[in-house]
């Protein structure tokens, strides 16, 4: 089987390799200027944005390179591409061209044909994704670190796109896209229709998981801080995924804006001491809800498990369609 798999998918492999190389070259090129600027600004010594010098340098760095987040955003398409161009045609094209009647009547049974193809393609696709994901993590580390200190959400390790492009999730998402493509092809037996369905279903799974399930994998950490005139934000550790900032009073009511939260203290607005006293009396504090960065592997585990289970289910259904429905 390995020869046939190589012969049928070598063009695809070449194409994927070229894509990964191109993305890697782009990232490596950006990496050079990232590292250069990072050391020029002496950002290695900054561990928080507290000091004014660090703050402005970090901010300048983030402003200069923040666009890279858009640059890697479209790399999220790679797993979908595997599903569309390799998964969907796998069975559909064989059926459309009638060649399944040729290949399934050699001495290799169709179950073995299916297993060999699926294993080879998923392993291949996962290796390619792993390579790209390693390059992304390596190339962007200075920017990720700076955005972590500034608590920016764009290149946070727990948010899209970085979370999706690295770790177990990237690999499981690739396996899922391929499996959904294979399933769509096995059920519809039409390449184009299967391609369209693959995109729709894959998106319909990923976006809700990333935006609705991921924030709830663990209950967020809540910290509060006394509201004073020079600082009103609680301390949040570097790299955390900041989910909510606001104000809470003694009765447990939450507010987004300090103006609304402190309406009752309006009469004391002119006198800072009296105002501070009023804040203390109504129990007004600021709060932050966040997921700490060290939950990365926990979250990766949950999300990857969801995708892996879905992928395995899709493959099982696809196999039974190949074995029983195409007969």
């Amino acid at each position: 089987m390995s020869w046939l798999i190589w012969r049928q998918h070598r063009i695809e492999l070449l194409f994927v390799l070229a894509t990964v190389c191109l993305c890697s070259a782009f990232l490596a090129f950006e990496h050079i200027s990232l590292v250069g600027t990072y050391s020029d600004l002496g950002l290695g010594k900054c561990t928080s944005a507290a000091s004014p010098a660090c703050s402005s340098n970090l901010q300048a760095f983030a402003n200069q390179f923040g666009w890279l987040y858009v640059g890697i955003y479209w790399m999220l398409l790679l797993p979908a591409m595997f599903g569309i161009f390799i998964g969907a045609p796998l069975i559909a094209r064989e059926v459309e061209s009638g060649s399944y009647r040729f290949v399934w009547t050699q001495s290799v049974t169709r179950t073995r044909w299916f297993l060999s193809k699926v294993v080879a393609l998923i392993v291949g696709a996962i290796l390619m994704t792993a390579a790209l994901s390693a390059v992304i993590s390596w190339a962007l580390w200075p920017l990720t670190r700076v955005e972590g200190i500034l608590l920016l959400p764009t290149l946070n390790v727990l948010t899209t796109p970085l979370f999706d492009l690295t770790g177990a999730v990237a690999l499981a998402a690739t396996a899922l896209a391929l499996s959904l493509g294979i399933l769509a092809g096995a059920l519809t037996r039409q390449t184009v229709l299967a391609m369209v369905l693959t995109v729709i279903v894959f998106t319909a799974v990923r976006i809700p998981v990333a935006s609705f399930l991921r924030p709830h994998f663990a209950s967020p950490v809540v910290t509060t801080a006394a509201v004073s005139l020079n600082s009103d934000v609680p301390v949040v550790p570097n790299g955390a995924w900041l989910m909510k900032l606001g104000f809470i009073d003694g009765e447990g009511q939450t507010f987004d804006l300090i103006g609304v939260a402190s309406a009752r203290c309006q009469p004391y607005a002119a006198d800072p001491t009296a105002l501070q006293q009023c804040f203390r009396e109504i129990g007004l504090r600021s709060f932050a809800e966040y997921q700490p960065a060290d939950r990365y592997w926990l979250f990766q585990g949950y999300e990857a498990a969801i995708y892996a289970v879905l992928a395995a289910t899709a493959l099982l259904v696809a196999w039974s369609a190949v074995r029983w429905r195409l007969a």
Binding site: W3, R7, V103, W104, T111, A327
Partner: protein
Amino acid sequence: MTAIAEADNLGKRYGARWGLKGCTLSLPAGRAIALVGPNGAGKTTLLQLMVGLLRPTEGAVRVCGHEPFKQPADVLPRVAFVAQDQPLYSNFTAEDLMTLGAHLNRRWDDRLVRDRLRQLRVPLDRPVGRLSGGQRAQVALGLSLAKQADIVILDEPLASLDPLARQEFLQTLMEAVTESGATLILSSHIVDELERVCDYLVILATARVQLTIAIDEALDTHKKLTGPPSDLLALSSIHDVVVASQTPRQMTAVVKGSGRMLDPSWETHAMSLQEIVLAYLTRSRQEEAEPAAELAVR
């Protein structure tokens, strides 16, 4: 006679329509078997059931003693199959397809197919999608022979060929069958010329088997009788009537049996294979039409 393939009340339903129904037959080993019948008679269905591409809806088929769909690993290495229109990977060259065959089969005679194709001057380095229909059929046949299977099954190998290519194909097929000693099963809706290759006949019509017989025997035992208009029942009492038709002046009947017609007013004619097949197909069509006719009278 050792049976190499047997079907027992085999049936395959596609949705509401039966592609094959109540098929019971036993095919002898070592023969070249022609499976003939009109389009839609269930030939392709029967052959695909025999190689495990299809699952029986009812009944069972056994090939080399195993059920192809349930035990594909036992049947597939012993059966070579060329589907209708010879589906091959059109972007593969003949060379690629030979490599594929060598990788996907335990037994593989690479030299056999290579020599054969070279002799027929089929280009080995051109994608088979760009070969002529005749050349593609030769590639598919070569691949099936290289598998060195006990049974070679060809589904409508002649359908896509022009008369010249058909001649050439039958010639090489005949040589190959003689050499290999494998059982050949070949389906066709064209009966003409099949005698050159085949020595056994299965007639399939309206999803049922009509006749299973050696071709020599079929030619020996089938006669066309013409004589004065007479009672069909009387005729049936002495002969096994396949089909009969009557005009005011004469009666024509196709009968099966070795008995002679003693009445001198009857003439006896030998029949060609094509005429015999046609007689059975006419009968099956009449049988199919009868219930409808009865209904119309009421």
